[in-house]
Symmetry: C2
């Protein structure tokens, strides 16, 4: 194209880069490093999935390297990871962070779960008795992805480095943590670390322990993991399988007279071949460990020597033989005799009763996330997911507190209800995880068949019931500061229905994704694309069929919400507007001015693609309002003529401006 | 998870990286840099979209930095790009390269094209007369994406750097190219360049000129762009629009009594605002340039001083005023008075009659791609796309030649038919592009209305007809070495139908994407995911309904194809197998062994999601074979009992092994 004149603004030169998330506003005074020693606002210990997720979120929210420090004792991201499953809900979250692509493109997608059980035909030995979808809960992603944990960590760390110059400070081991308010009440957490062999002491306002099952943070805070250990021993092996087993690319629960195997198909590797993971139940049983001793032993040594000796007998060949026996009459062996990775472990379920340590004023100073507060078996593919979701829950609460976005403490009650809700919400999930895992592991470890123990129907049923949990989509937080649910039972509730897993709006559950048609450009959209993980609250207005009338309930509600938004810090609340099927075509002029002003690119037809109103349980004639929290969970639901309820909820979560 | 034993293979440590494309085999002797001066196998001049695409593909195919050199005179990727449109077909190609995500996530997606025309109601002045889908041709992507050209370049360059340590050699200007067979017939192309002010001479087997409209390569080779210049002048401006025009987020062709404007919505920028591009037809007309002089002038100076003076009168304010006038009664102005970028140009359509320069033996040595061989107006969003597709067409032919994968020359005919097909295929497209652009530009520049010139119905009709071309999905290459179509007209053809744009298999057209259900894991797939841009040929077998019978036509065809594959270099041909709806469920044991051996993860149910057989025009009772070229185009179609036709085709494209 023969251009003969060209002029460009300077900002244009930056347009070649990928988009960055906009940082959150900060009413609090800017953090400035002080001369009297190294100080931070937040220190994170551990850069596994939970620590990296927190580090990434806080960096995106706007904490700089001077305010935020993440340390890890390892020299690089995990290379020999154990976890491999990414749940649909975790994928949804990755998508709202813009980091799901590599998993979508390159992970193994498990769409189906096959059940193999003893056959009545003795020649067949085992037979496929059912194939069910792997993910039963409605979700933006209808599969579970499997991929090397080290790769998940690398994806997050790569993105982190767009926001943080330093990234994770590696080769740095936590030595000690204590709370010392007397010397410095603003930075009461004293952190002693060993960085490349040198001891260093820093202070911080808050510290998060994401340092795994043997968490030093937890031990320094005197917190105990509580629970019991079952006596099942499992072996796990990753290999390129040479096999004639027909379902090697499906997730399988195989119960054979010779034992049990779980088959987890994995991603393609550089040779073009596909990995398979096998979990086998090793018949050797051991005396249960005293897990408390094991956990509390500061040296990390396992004391139960007896059990240890027995476990040490478990070998690669033993695991392989066990798998081969359970899969007969089919053969399975490692291609070219090479095993990619193997490990053995004993199932133990434990949870810390306390996830937060407060200072004397009741302000949360030390938090634990992930394996540091709950450990369990790996088979339901939960661990990495629940751990990252701990951080996803904590991150926005912590930044609201640090940035001065949280409401001022009131005279009565806890001074930091927003922070406290981390314990309320995630401890319940951890307990559910432990309970579910115990049930699932026991079932899976037990023998199965027509004549003894659990029937395969019972096993399948348990799988189906647990799917809301294992997919991550069925999580429901209890009522708290950030979940307002009290009056929903009455007849005036704008939401009807109870099938929350299928999308009925429910405070405490995540907003289900629906497909919408955008008014401005006729572009099909996912509502999840309107709730990226940028730390903002969203008011979702499902306008009613009267939207085009000037003095309608919908118009008044929109105007009131629009006005309400101005009482909070700029940009902290975004408006999303859906409309139902209306009786005539319309233009921007026909809807309240605030719709174009505040939601030009977030104003959608809620009936053209999915029937969003039906999915959310909202009557198009009545409409509804909902507040979506920064982590995508519904905080409150209200009638269109009840904007004061939305206001009440928002004031619990966000400080107001220009008042009084 | 309390692991107590863990062992890992060393290769496992690499699993954290994103996948790499597997390089092509190389029957030719390895390239080793010789001591007598710097030599390359391929030198690329210019790292715009066309040059980067070629560089990226050849690097992925396996050419190392010692064998492949790409130079560019600029110090970095384009910052102030002009092109912005990415066609559905280009997106399909990016997807097969694994580099489409950022465009899918962050570009503006144009789904609709709105037509605004003079209204009979004088108060309205203009009115929206139609909204049609932007993309009418079936495609994996049903929208056109718009995004800053510099960003497209950055995406390709980032990926390139995974394969090439050097990347593009920048600040390096081509000075001269000539062919000198006498001194060195193996490396006959002599390249003189100025790299950071130092002159340097290198030799290469092949050189590709991707150096834009004023191509030095083209000039050195004595090739001329031919064509004419119309006398329309256009202004283009990028801005964040403050406007009450209701369709500012749709692509619009606005014809007003006061002039014409084309509105192109663009991506969101870091402020959270959205860019808009406006093309306006500036009423000032000029004497047409002597384009040949302009092009051939080695100093790059434009001689037509008269025209130049007139054009220099075009200013930012003039363009804005013109746009504002044409959009009345709506207002439009740059938000905060800031314009992002603006330029003015004169429409000229030219094409080089020759895209290849051969040596005395008839071997293609110098190639030109992109703007170096065709220039035209930007309005149909063609330029960047057609340019990258030139390279996409050339890349696999060039690597087959360089790597010794192409058939040995026969005594009769051209020695390099594979290379020659680049000219056959892409010159025709360039000519079509010029013809289309001339028609489209004239239409768009012309006045329109009820009383004069083209009617809006005619304009819309032209848009619809042109959509196969503008989407990139309607490209059809003529018969050649690599497109075998001769006997398809007869009644024995396995493909029925002529609606090629909608997917009927047609040698010379790209294979339309369809959705399939994979046998191995029940995973829904796109067939395009089975044809990544790794340089491989694929034999696509649409098995017939007799697949489960042992001695069926399908089984014999599959065995024959499997045998045929062994006569070509290992891994150069991949097998994809579809099956129609069959009369009973089946297992791997029920289909020919070669299906699992060669296509375990590429064996799909072709009726469970899309009806692939109907889309491709294949009778499920008869089935069909097709060969898909490395660039995704169908090369040949054959009956299941006519594997020799597949063999004939493949032998035209690929050398055989172990023969004679």
């Amino acid at each position: 194209m023969p251009v003969f004149t060209e002029h460009s603004s300077s900002s244009r030169n930056l347009r070649v880069l990928p988009s960055f998330a906009a940082p959150l506003p900060r009413p609090a005074p800017p953090f400035e490093p002080q001369s009297n020693g190294e100080k931070y606002e937040v220190v994170i210990v551990g850069a596994g999935p939970a620590g990296l997720m927190l580090n990434l979120l806080l960096s995106r929210y706007g904490l700089s390297d001077t305010s935020l420090l993440c340390i890890d004792s390892k020299p690089s991201t995990l290379k020999t990871g154990q976890a491999d499953g990414v749940q649909p809900r975790t994928l949804e979250v990755f998508k709202t962070l813009g980091i799901s692509d590599e998993i979508e493109n390159e992970a193994c997608h498990m769409w189906q779960f096959a059940f193999w059980n003893p056959s009545n035909d003795k020649d067949k030995i085992i037979e496929r008795t059912a194939v069910v979808p792997e993910v039963l809960a409605p979700s933006r992603f209808s599969y579970e992805a499997t991929i090397h944990q080290g790769r998940i960590e690398r994806i997050m760390e790569t993105d982190l480095l767009r926001y943080s110059k330093r990234g994770v400070l590696r080769n740095t081991r936590l030595v000690d943590v204590r709370i010392d308010e007397e010397s410095d009440a603003e930075f009461p957490v004293v952190v002693t670390m060993d960085t490349n062999g040198e001891e260093k002491v820093v202070r911080t306002k808050h510290l998060v322990g994401a340092d795994g099952a043997h968490s030093i943070v937890r031990q320094c805070m005197g917190l105990r993991l509580e629970g019991e250990s079952l006596d099942h021993i499992w072996g796990v092996i990753d290999l390129v399988a040479d096999t004639d087993f027909p379902d090697i690319r499906r997730r399988c629960a195989i119960h054979s007279p010779a034992g049990s195997v779980m088959v987890i198909p994995r991603e393609r590797i550089s040779t073009g071949e596909y990995l398979t993971r096998l979990y086998v139940h090793v018949p050797e049983t051991v005396v249960p460990d005293n897990d408390q001793d094991q956990v509390l032993d500061a040296n990390g040594a396992v004391k139960a020597e007896d059990a240890r000796q027995r476990r040490s007998k478990i070998t690669q060949d033993g695991i392989l033989q066990q798998a081969a026996d359970a899969m007969k009459p089919y053969y399975i062996r490692p291609k070219d005799g090479v095993v990619d990775w193997w490990a053995a472990y004993q199932i133990g379920q434990r949870v810390s009763p306390q996830f937060i340590v407060n200072d004397s004023q009741g302000v949360g100073r030390v938090f634990i996330v992930g394996d540091a507060c709950h450990t369990h078996s790996p088979k339901a593919g939960q661990g990495m997911n629940v751990s990252m979701m701990d951080s996803y829950n904590l991150a926005w609460k912590l930044i609201y507190h640090v940035n001065g976005l949280a409401p001022e403490p009131t005279a009565t009650g806890t001074p930091t209800p927003l922070l406290d809700s981390y314990q309320t919400e995630r401890h319940q999930i951890a307990q559910q995880l432990i309970d579910f895992d115990r049930k699932f592991s026991t079932m899976f470890s037990g023998k199965m068949g027509a004549t003894e123990g659990l029937t395969q129907e019972e096993f399948q049923q348990a799988f189906k019931l647990g799917n809301g949990f294992t997919s991550g989509c069925g999580v429901e937080y209890p009522e708290s500061t950030v979940v307002l649910r009290d009056d929903l039972e009455d007849s005036t509730s704008p939401v009807k229905g109870t099938d929350y897993l299928s999308g009925i709006l429910r405070p405490g559950r995540r907003l289900l994704d629906v497909r919408l048609l955008r008014h401005a450009d006729g572009s099909p959209r996912h509502i999840h694309d309107d709730i990226p993980s940028t730390g903002r609250f969203r008011v979702l207005c499902l306008a009613s069929t009267d939207l085009l009338d000037r003095q309608s309930v919908s118009a008044r509600a929109l105007d009131a919400v629009s006005g309400l938004m101005t009482t909070f810090p700029v940009s902290i609340i975004e408006l999303i507007v859906l409309h139902p099927k209306l009786h005539r075509p319309f233009e921007w002029d026909d809807v309240p001015t605030c719709v174009k002003q505040r939601a030009e690119m977030r104003f959608h037809d809620g009936s053209a693609l999915d029937d969003a109103y039906a999915i959310y349980g909202v009557d198009p004639a009545k409409g509804a309002l909902a507040v979506i929290r920064p982590d995508g969970y519904v905080g409150v639901v209200a009638r269109l003529d009840h904007v004061s309820r939305v206001e009440e909820y928002l004031k619990r979560c966000i400080r107001t401006v220009n008042e009084g």
